[in-house]
Symmetry: D2
């Protein structure tokens, strides 16, 4: 059994970690911290967990996180980088679901996240936690930077094309759409049902924090720098990301075969049959990414459709996948839930 | 292992049975029938099941249902009553998720369902499949009539009060609200997103088929006939039933203690702390019923709030609970999913 | 032309007043105040108003409200009672969309609203602004207390029955459902799309501020005190209230004729044909209340279904109706929009 | 007064025409035809129209459409082309909201719409009803082909760029998103709330009927053929289209000034300030198109965001705009509704 702690358990990635870890056969939940909710039972805040999670929120001081085998950070950006060093020093492994260790260029990170990095010396040793590209490194990692939700969906869609060199890396477009839980459990007016439902809009066209993260990893896949136009949109739904990706072909190739071969041994990436249009509900509440690849008639454009559940494959599920890899467990342990449809 | 067949697997109760049975450790799915979809892979119709259900729909003739241990009917009303006799004769046990065997008074059934009953001689031996009231009989049953979704939510809310005789059985009001999946997977205009979303309405005030079913079972609990006003409403959500129940107290009693005692040993009924307001999402995709009981200030009225997922505790989950009872398995086997929130 | 000011124009009743007043042929909008947004253009906050409202928010000091003919208060409870006296003294008429002047019993108001009343001497002279019951008094009023949204829907449904004395005033039940805009434009977690959509729940069963308001007015209609059980619910939709009302008949009467006669000359109350189930979208964005009355078979219960748009007939539209009455304009002026469906 | 008939009044464009025409000061509605609903009152099918439309559906034979000044076809594709000749011969002007006369290349039309064209000789004289490009021709037209919803949003976004020659016409991408009412009022399973809500997906990547229509008109704007990748998506909302458009700049230019100049005199196109992200609700139930133009940092890509209400500017409102032009009325007559927000 792995003894696990969670820092920051009151957001959507926190409650999703709890939902999944409560069903994981090799995990013992030791503590969940929240300064604000300390003392309150977890299942009083999240009624869905009644009967499944028998813990109260604790302060970081009470939580004895240094006695855990692994600590997940489900915190706002800027928290994990302040606590990781001490935990790692105590022999605890860390999976950070926030952005603190995702970007290797510290100056770039500081520009986008608007604060000095508290722990730059750990950035180089942190492993980017996308198993489909960094599986081996994750298995040996002490500190894993769990990818963002948009970056997961976009990378999995572009990777086969860039690795094979069949599209022009200088003209990549990612038109991405996310359910509102991606914005977090925060009392902000634009996220109200009365504002966001029966509505659709883009945001962040002039710049989004996930852009440098995606670009860094796509460049690694392409073996050279890439140019990416990334436009996120807000969809009136709770969960789900749909990335519609556009690339310009520079070589004729069997796209379907390329994708199927790339992901043949990946347990959480499902390449759909030709002509498919994955919908986000087909992965709802599961750790799957489903992908379809299209080449519109009379066109040199390739269109990739990639869907994930932003809270699972885009956050908590991927974090548990990383945990399984770090502790030598079967990769899919605790992550085989059937998507909930309808 | 129990060998299981499903008749009518293309509706919402069918796909939900598949989602749950695919994760059940003691079940082997033998066949799923659908004349209309015969030959098509199940996971082509329901992409969510890719990797979990490796079957194609078959015709009833191909399905060899008489070699199953148990057959679930997830069919429109009127189908199960035509096929149950032969299956039971072949030693197969049957759980009917439709209404064919729920009402003991055959003439009353025929009035509400608008057709002659094809198998009236089996009605008396069918067991009404609400485990919280008929557990023992279900364990010995060959034919179980799985309750309707509204009846499950309404009965579980009223039962403690009627069994204890603390409310007037002559004035019961059930104001019930259901998500649209309760109406089935049918291409009908009033169920379109463009019609039913951002909207709320009552229906069937002059009479609904679940009324006689609820009344029959509440009368059994009360030990006398009851008068019930039942008003169903359509909520712009996918899953979930919320029943708001009103009764007039005729004895002073500790309502909270009454409910907690009644359901203390029920694995799927959760009585919330005093002052709670259960929301339907707190049971989403799980087999739970959560209940809160209120007595408004300066009033002799008791208000009970009862929520279920109509497709699980109101249909497929309850059917599997019944299967577990019928085959002597642990009651909760395959039914311990944590609700999906948000 | 009536010169109009709005205090508190940043909430949903505020923007709805602006939408309707911008189309009113006899209104000139002079000022909209908001301390927080002072200086910002109204159409920068509410893009929908671009081209229709050419004003910036102003501070109360700049707004010169004492030179208006009428001031609407679209403020949180507790604001209007602090400013009404001065405005009335300057000859300005006031329509308060908050609760400050709705309840005649000041001690009762203070108990429910949790603050001392700043202006108790004006309560007696304030007129409750439900035109269907107080039309004449409104026409002569200087200060109108615009009704709450739930109270409007509930009263219009119960009035014909109580005025005619055909139901027992000691056992009234109002099971009411509201879209989330009824909770206001506030950044609160339970109102997020990720929390409130695909979900349904009751709230305030142990007591809601609209209860004493409804009871006061129903008692006036009945000519005696009434007992009311009022349970509000939150519906995952933006606009709309659906009140399902239950009463016990004590006299046999033609209910349909009773309702049609009561509302025959009311321009904003529409009694539907027998057997109807009004849906909230049938009044979306309009000032209408649609009502259907049912008597379930073999029952002494009457069930009334009453729907309004909470922001129009339940707030801004009714306020403008009151303005029309106060200034001797045609009642329906500026309020004849066709409901938006789908 | 213009005497108007509507053929096919039971779909969403039909009821939207009725909503808008009922408020138009220069229109007298003579007849609405529907074979299926003949004899039924319009306001029985669409309760929202009670008090506003006092007509019953009639058969085409009873409707005496040849005595109208104008007939709107709000029919499935293939109907208008069978009836237009006779009406035009009788001196009636026609606005066809279906696709029958939109594509000038009859063979291309037949390929995409899968039927022979019944009236090819009228195609050349039909005027494409986008006032922003064909205003003068519309004013003199007898037969107007009202544009599709996607084509309206996409064209208005690309026009300034193509007319000015500042983007490469060989690489245009339109990633478009539509609410479900765009699919019509049809009882189809994928459009059910239980299927389409809390979900997002693309469709028709391999080809959509609006592609040739958009391409034809963009080519006219560019003065040469264009290459367009068009990917439509289904959004879980009722109304609204959001087109996210991508083009590659080949000249440095002040994009904001370009758009503002192009639409300076257009009453229904609103260019938002720099940095804006229009949301679909900002035009809900109105005839407006709102547009924002972006150039992401360090990029030669231009991103245009264009939103309309698919039933108004994308269908019924634009049709009435065309009517106003055809009859020499003020362009905006009957079309100045303020968008409904929230």
């Amino acid at each position: 059994m792995i003894t696990v702690g969670i820092v920051g358990g009151t957001g959507y990635t926190g409650v999703e970690l709890l939902r999944l870890l409560a069903q994981h056969p090799e995990v013992r939940l030791q503590a969940i911290t929240s300064r604000k909710e300390a003392g309150q039972r977890v299942d009083a805040l999240f009624t869905s967990l009644r009967g499944h999670v028998d813990l109260a929120f604790s302060t970081p001081e009470e939580a004895a996180l240094d006695r855990c085998d692994l600590v997940f950070f489900a915190t706002p950006n800027g928290v994990a980088m302040g606590q990781a060093r001490a935990l790692l020093g105590a022999g605890v492994r860390v999976v950070d679901l926030s952005a603190d260790f995702r970007i290797r260029d510290v100056a770039l990170w500081e520009k986008w996240y608007g604060m000095p990095h508290a722990c730059p010396e750990l950035v180089a040793s942190a492993v980017y936690g996308l198993p489909e590209t960094h599986r081996k490194a994750i298995a040996g990692a002490r500190l894993v930077a769990n990818p963002g939700c948009y970056p997961t969906a976009v990378q999995l869609g572009f990777l086969p094309l860039l690795e094979a060199g069949v599209i022009d890396p200088a003209v990549l477009i990612a038109d991405a759409k996310s359910g509102v839980s991606g914005a977090g459990r925060k009392g902000e007016i634009p996220l109200l049902l009365a504002e966001a439902s029966d509505n659709f809009k883009a945001y962040g066209v002039s710049g989004h924090r996930h852009h440098p993260e995606i670009r860094q990893e796509l460049a690694a896949a392409a073996g050279r720098d890439v140019e990416l136009t990334f436009v996120p949109h807000l969809v009136p739904m709770i969960r789900g990301i749909h990335a519609t990706l556009y690339g310009q072909l520079r070589a004729d190739t069997d796209l379907q075969a390329l994708f199927e071969a790339r992901y043949a041994r990946e347990p959480f990436v499902d390449v759909l049959p030709p002509g498919s249009h994955p919908d986000t509900r087909s992965v709802r509440a599961s750790n799957l990414c489903r992908i379809a690849v299209h080449r519109p008639p009379d066109s040199d454009m390739v269109v990739v459709l990639s869907v994930i559940d932003n809270l699972v494959k885009g956050a908590a599920g991927q974090a548990i996948h990383n945990m399984n890899l770090m502790f030598g467990l079967e990769e899919t342990l605790g992550l085989t839930q059937v998507p909930v449809l309808p």
